[in-house]
């Protein structure tokens, strides 16, 4: 998404001060052959690995095709209609939306709180930062395998809850036992259990992003606010938060797009189950397209996912990121 709208300047620094040497074409611009030579490899890769698959998906999406033999059975928009009217696909979209909303309302404030905390002078600050960031470094598959073990019935998570639960005043042991359930096996809670794992994995990333943003805020501003009589909350609310805006908006963007693309973690822990309770758009695509030899239908679903993500990204750029990104697409 990086857009460089500035003309490429290949003249060495200082050259502008001296009299510019006579170049072909406009001064400060690379000549066409050079540009073409530089762009061509990227363009070929992009065309071959991005454009061509998308076009192929589009082509498949209007056929009924089991993956073997030629494309013969034209169904027009039938696959799209089926996907959009499928209760399972709509549930998958809904699950992604739930994860996105929960990410924005729970994960982001949590990451922000931690970032603010770890921006203070604090003993062991470096250690905490590393520790909180560590889960993000793990691959999603490793995370999934580990948490599948932790969340299994009578697993570590249950043991921890059993131990800690009764220590909370007013909570009886029966209530704790009542609370414990097969986290990944109960359709009512599996999605939220997964959201917990996703948060565990990704809050560190957003914490680091926000921390970097916090450190870009000059301390003079906060000092000035303090001199003007602002309390810590007011300083945070009226100085820090507005100045952190661009970082928060990028974090939100990453969260939203990420929520709609969740795949690996779900595939490893629940495969979209129990009874479809954690199906996301991507697992739906694999399950109902590839897993059932319905490649035409899969093509249609992938186009829909692409359209939904694209619409989200563009809307976000148009209405939220516009003030942050120069030369945004919309």
């Amino acid at each position: 998404m990086q857009t460089t709208s500035q003309p490429v300047d290949i003249s060495p620094p200082g050259a502008k001060a001296a009299a510019p040497p006579p170049l072909k074409g406009a001064p400060g611009r690379a000549s066409w052959p050079v540009l073409a030579a530089l762009i061509l490899p990227a363009l070929v890769v992009y065309g071959l690995f991005v454009i061509y698959p998308i076009v192929q998906s589009l082509r498949f999406s209007v056929y009924k095709w089991n993956g073997l033999g030629p494309l013969t059975e034209w169904v027009g928009l039938g696959n799209f209609v089926e996907a959009l009217s499928s209760r399972d696909f709509r549930a998958a979209v809904l699950h992604c939306a739930i994860i996105a909303v929960l990410s924005l309302t729970l994960q982001l404030p949590f990451a922000l709180a931690l970032a603010t905390l770890l921006n203070q002078k604090l003993a062991g600050r470096g250690l905490f930062r590393t520790m909180f960031f560590a889960p993000y470094v793990l691959s999603e598959v490793v995370t999934g395998v580990v948490w599948r073990q932790l969340l299994r019935p009578d697993g570590m998570a249950d043991r921890v809850i059993e131990t800690i639960g009764p220590l909370i005043p007013g909570v009886s042991e029966e209530a704790v036992q009542e609370f414990i359930r097969p986290w990944l096996g109960d359709p009512a809670v599996a999605l939220y259990a997964l959201f917990f794992v996703l948060t565990w994995k990704y809050f560190g990333l957003h914490m680091i992003l926000l921390l970097a943003g916090l450190q870009g805020i000059p301390s003079e501003l906060k000092e000035a606010a303090a001199i003007d009589g602002a309390g810590p909350w007011q300083a945070f609310r009226y100085v820090t938060l507005p100045l952190l805006g661009p970082t928060i908006r990028i974090s939100m963007f990453l969260m939203t797009i990420g929520s709609f693309h969740v795949f690996d973690l779900v595939w490893v822990t629940t495969r979209g189950g129990p009874v479809g309770a954690t199906q996301t758009m991507a697992t739906y695509l694999i399950d109902f397209g590839f897993g059932r030899n319905r490649f035409g239908y899969g093509g249609a679903v992938s186009i829909l996912i692409f359209a939904i993500s694209m619409a989200l990204a563009l809307l976000y750029q148009r209405f939220v990121l516009r003030r942050d990104v120069e030369g945004a697409l919309t």
Partner: protein
């Protein structure tokens, strides 16, 4: 910065994967234009594929020098004694036919399906590859990827069990050669049954439900089922349909492509009776078939009493329970005694106690496989070699005269039942096209979870029929 690089790298890898898949598809579509010219594509039975025309004499044997031939062979016997045996057989065949070499590709079950799909889409099937028959094989036949070998094997196919062979017939042609055939039934832990005071395995569905209740009353988890993998659950529905409506019911369903059948509705009601007992292991909806927390793990560690599974069950119970060495027979590995009983009869049902839901393993023959590949299949399924396979305890050979080579005592009751059965219905999720089969699995698990009714299930499955 490092993370963005990582992200870019993973993005690139993802894109690569996408494009490989897309190229596979494109290749298949493109290739057909060239093969479409060959009349053998649509009528593989009559015309020999082009490659077989080059070496004209395949009989006679000692006719001097032969063109070197490589047989590409994909199988899924990826561990233990069977892996070794297949390798040995290939070497022996090469010794007898020095011009033949093998290119063996071994994959685990699920990995095989993923790996072979691009090859099939690229219109480039391996010479010999694992097949379960059913809807997938029918699709491959329709796409002209596999060859009708009924003529080439006519001299010796009679040595194999006709029932097993029939699983690989499509529209009167034969496209694969079976080497294994088994049946799904109840594996149970005899120790836990004794603890619950059950002396004999149940023979009717009502008795079965009573036993489940007795186990529950004794504080034992009665049944383990791999709800996340879903297909282990579908065995219950499939068997209930078979017991209630007999094989006629399944034939009618398949012929009319309509699951709305009285036997299905009654099966749903009977399944409901079982579900209401809450007999399954904790978190069964998140359980797979293998693995310590899977169905096999619950049985293998003695935490649950009953599992409805095929002939491969005991080996996996031992694996997932973490007992013994893969080379040993399952009954030697398991620390408790197990038994087997057929799916019980349902009162008033039309089905016979020995009719089964089952399936086999075979090797499909790719369109352009050399004739030597067929000769190798003859060698592989010969009585002596089928006996060697049976002795591993991992395979129930289908060659006549090799049945008694299975020395695993756990298999004895299963084999007896199989011998008496007049009808073995292929697992429904393999029997029907993938879209229908997977929907049957989905809907059965919803019934297990108490989240839908049999009427909803029928509606969803019929919708899958319409879309496939």
């Amino acid at each position: 910065m490092r993370t963005t690089k990582l992200r870019r790298l993973s993005a690139l890898v993802a894109l690569l994967a996408l494009v490989v898949a897309a190229c596979g598809g494109g290749g298949a579509a493109g290739d057909t234009s060239t093969t479409a010219a060959a009349p053998s594509d649509t009528t593989p039975a009559t015309e020999a594929p082009p490659e077989t025309e080059a070496p004209p004499a395949t009989e006679g044997g000692d006719g001097g020098e032969k063109e070197p031939v490589t047989i590409e062979w994909w199988h899924i016997q990826n561990q233990g004694a069977m892996l070794e045996l297949w390798e040995t057989l290939a070497n022996e065949f090469t010794e007898m036919n020095p011009h033949v070499t093998f290119d063996i590709v071994v994959n685990e079950n699920e990995a095989f399906k993923d790996a072979v799909e691009p090859r099939l889409q690229a219109n480039d099937p391996p010479d010999l590859f694992q097949s379960w028959g059913g809807g997938d094989l029918a699709d491959q036949v329709e796409a002209g990827l596999v060859r009708d070998i009924s003529g080439e094997v006519s001299g010796w196919i009679g040595n194999l069990s006709a029932g097993a062979v029939s699983l690989f017939e499509v529209d009167g042609g034969l496209y694969a050669v079976p080497f294994d055939l088994g049946m799904v039934g109840f594996w149970y832990n005899k120790v836990l049954f004794a603890e619950a005071g059950i002396d004999a395995p149940p023979t009717t569905w009502d008795e079965f439900l009573e036993d489940v209740q007795a186990l529950k009353d004794a504080g034992i988890t009665p049944i383990a089922v791999g709800g996340q993998d879903r297909w282990p659950a579908h065995f219950y529905l499939a068997y209930l349909i078979l017991r209630i409506g007999g094989h006629e019911a399944i034939e009618e369903i398949a012929a009319n492509r309509d699951f709305n059948h009285p036997a299905v509705i009654e099966a749903g009601n009977q399944l409901q009776r079982l579900v209401e007992l809450e007999p399954f292991q904790e978190g069964f909806l998140a359980s797979t078939w293998p693995g310590p927390d899977g169905e096999a793990g619950w049985i293998g560690t003695g935490r649950a009493a009953i599992s409805l599974m095929g002939q491969w069950g005991p080996g996996e119970y031992a694996n997932s329970g973490g007992h013994g060495e893969p080379e040993q027979l399952p009954s030697e590995r398991l620390p408790f005694e197990m038994g087997w009983f057929p799916f019980p009869e349902v009162e008033g049902g039309a089905g016979d106690l020995n009719d089964g839901i089952g399936g086999g393993n075979g090797f499909a023959v790719g369109r352009d496989a050399p004739p030597e590949a067929i000769e190798f299949l003859e060698y592989l399924t010969s009585v002596e070699n089928a006996r060697r396979a049976g002795e591993t305890g991992a395979i129930l050979p289908v060659t006549k005269g090799a049945e008694d080579s299975v020395t695993e005592p756990l298999m004895v009751p299963l084999l007896e039942s199989l011998a008496q059965s007049e009808f073995v219905q292929l697992y429904l999720d393999q029997f029907f096209p993938a879209a229908v089969g997977e929907t049957i699995n989905d809907e059965t698990v919803k019934l297990f979870a108490g989240q839908s009714t049999i009427e909803d299930a029928i509606q969803a499955i019929n919708a899958a029929f319409a879309s496939s």
